[in-house]
């Protein structure tokens, strides 16, 4: 009885998740889908979206891994405050984050001026996409790896030290390999989230168009059919990514 009740509620729940996907694939114009899939605009957008999310993830790995280790291994004043700060971007409206980033990285800002010396600018450029994606999804990576480090018994590292490893070596040869799994899944999840980012990207870099922005643009400028075909394509891509993440996780 109880089991069936739980089962029925669960089934309703799952159906309500599947339904939007089903609706899209039932209504989409498949000729248009194939046409868009082949279009230069779409292919460029896929490349930009994937590579921007990839670079954002690389940056998060470089800065976030030491941070996660620092927080997991050492005690210091304001530690929990620091941990909290890293999670804030997860809960702020993305459009507000986008405006904050625009101000921080814009041409008139310190960073914007500094970056322009190296020929980098963030507004309406690829690097703006990277910044927006990175800012709003790095905490996924960090919290995954932080949990990993917290789960790893610090005694492994102590044993390594007693066997002659410097802190540096015990980090690289013991701590990092033991969180390899969390690093990989954290990266994949961050990458996937980066791909899905919209609000901040739309403000900081409407161009070059990511898949999110392109969808919105099509919806607003070119009507439903194009947007729908694009949505279906994105769903297919998302599901492929998702299957990959699941395979890696298990």
């Amino acid at each position: 009885m109880f089991k069936y009740l739980v089962m029925i509620i669960s089934i309703i729940f799952v159906l309500s998740i599947i339904l939007p996907f089903l609706t899209v694939f039932l209504n989409v114009d498949y000729h248009l889908l194939i046409e868009i899939a082949k279009s230069k605009e779409f292919i460029t957008s896929v490349k930009i979206t994937f590579s921007a999310a990839f670079i954002a993830t690389l940056i998060a790995i470089f800065f976030g891994t030491p941070f996660a280790y620092f927080v997991a291994r050492y005690n210091f004043p304001l530690k929990s405050f620091l941990e909290a700060i890293v999670d804030i971007p997860q809960t702020i409206p993305h459009t507000a984050a986008g405006i904050a980033l625009l101000l921080t990285l814009g041409r008139a800002s310190l960073i914007g001026k500094g970056a322009s010396i190296f020929g980098i600018s963030f507004v309406q450029t690829f690097w703006g996409i990277v910044a927006a994606m990175g800012f709003l999804s790095f905490s996924i990576y960090v919290s995954s790896v932080k949990d990993g480090f917290k789960k790893v018994d610090i005694r492994y590292e102590k044993v390594a030290r007693s066997l002659g490893a410097t802190p540096f070596k015990s980090f690289f040869y013991v701590a990092l390999p033991l969180v390899k799994h969390e690093m990989i899944t954290g990266s994949l999840l961050m990458w996937a989230r980066g791909i899905s980012e919209f609000g901040a990207v739309a403000i900081l870099a409407y161009y070059p168009m990511t898949l999110s922005v392109l969808t919105y643009d099509k919806f607003q400028g070119y009507g439903l059919n194009q947007a729908l075909a694009l949505t279906a394509l994105i769903f297919i891509i998302s599901m492929i990514i998702f299957v990959i993440i699941r395979i890696v996780q298990n």
Binding site: R155, A160, R161, S162, G164, A165, L178
Partner: protein
């Protein structure tokens, strides 16, 4: 070449531990008894260099080693759950110390592997070893870099009853064979064999027991 601890004081949070004097000679096997939470592990970690001392000295060969980082103390450490590196196979676990210290000594490596009778499991994953095998691999890993001191944190507690005695005898043999300074901490007085010095942690302080009278009332720990 003896290990001597003088006026040691450790403070971690509210926890305190005092060691007025502890002296162990090469080839000597000493026991430290104490109930769970009395600071046995902490004391070993202090000797190995993982805990900052409040006061006191740890002398080895009359030199204060308490200022050295753990990797320079040349102390073998074995936790009760061995902590074999799960991402490395048996061989790589044993070689780890050699690699870190950049020692190349295949003869001694082979000798140790044979001494502990683990040459047939070198390519196994450490997860798939039995308790006794894990124990022997952990000992091989600790001893392959030729430490002078071996710290044993409840070395028998994760073993099945029937091989406890076997391993205990092995530990005593190793102590003599390599002229090691061995410190064995445990809460189980039945692990004491031979005529060894026995210390006990009582009220946060390490105290020596008469070595011929270890049979104390059981309510004490």
């Amino acid at each position: 070449m003896e290990l001597q601890i003088q006026n040691l004081k450790i403070e971690v949070g509210n926890f305190k531990l005092y060691v007025n004097n502890l002296k162990v000679n090469p080839g000597e096997y000493v026991y430290i008894l104490g109930p769970t939470g009395s600071g046995k592990t902490l004391l070993l970690e202090a000797i190995a260099g993982f805990v900052t001392l409040k006061t006191g000295k740890i002398l080895f060969n009359n030199q204060d080693i308490s200022i050295l980082p753990p990797e320079k103390r040349n102390i073998g450490f074995m936790y009760q759950n061995y902590h074999l590196f799960p991402h490395l196979n048996v061989k790589k676990n044993i070689e780890f110390g050699l690699k870190m210290k950049k020692i190349k000594d295949p003869t001694f490596f082979n000798y140790i592997v044979n001494r502990f009778n683990i040459s047939h499991i070198l390519n196994r994953k450490v997860q798939n070893l039995s308790g006794g095998e894990k124990q022997r691999v952990a000992l091989a890993r600790a001893l392959v870099t030729k430490p002078k001191i071996l710290l044993l944190d409840e070395p028998l507690s994760a073993l099945d009853q029937d091989i406890k005695m076997e391993i205990l005898e092995l530990l005593h043999q190793l102590c003599q064979e390599y002229n090691l300074i061995c410190i064995h901490v445990t809460h189980d007085k039945s692990e004491i064999i031979g005529d060894c010095a026995v210390y006990r942690i009582v009220h946060s302080t390490l105290k020596k027991e008469k070595s011929d009278n270890v049979q104390v009332p059981s309510y004490d720990y």
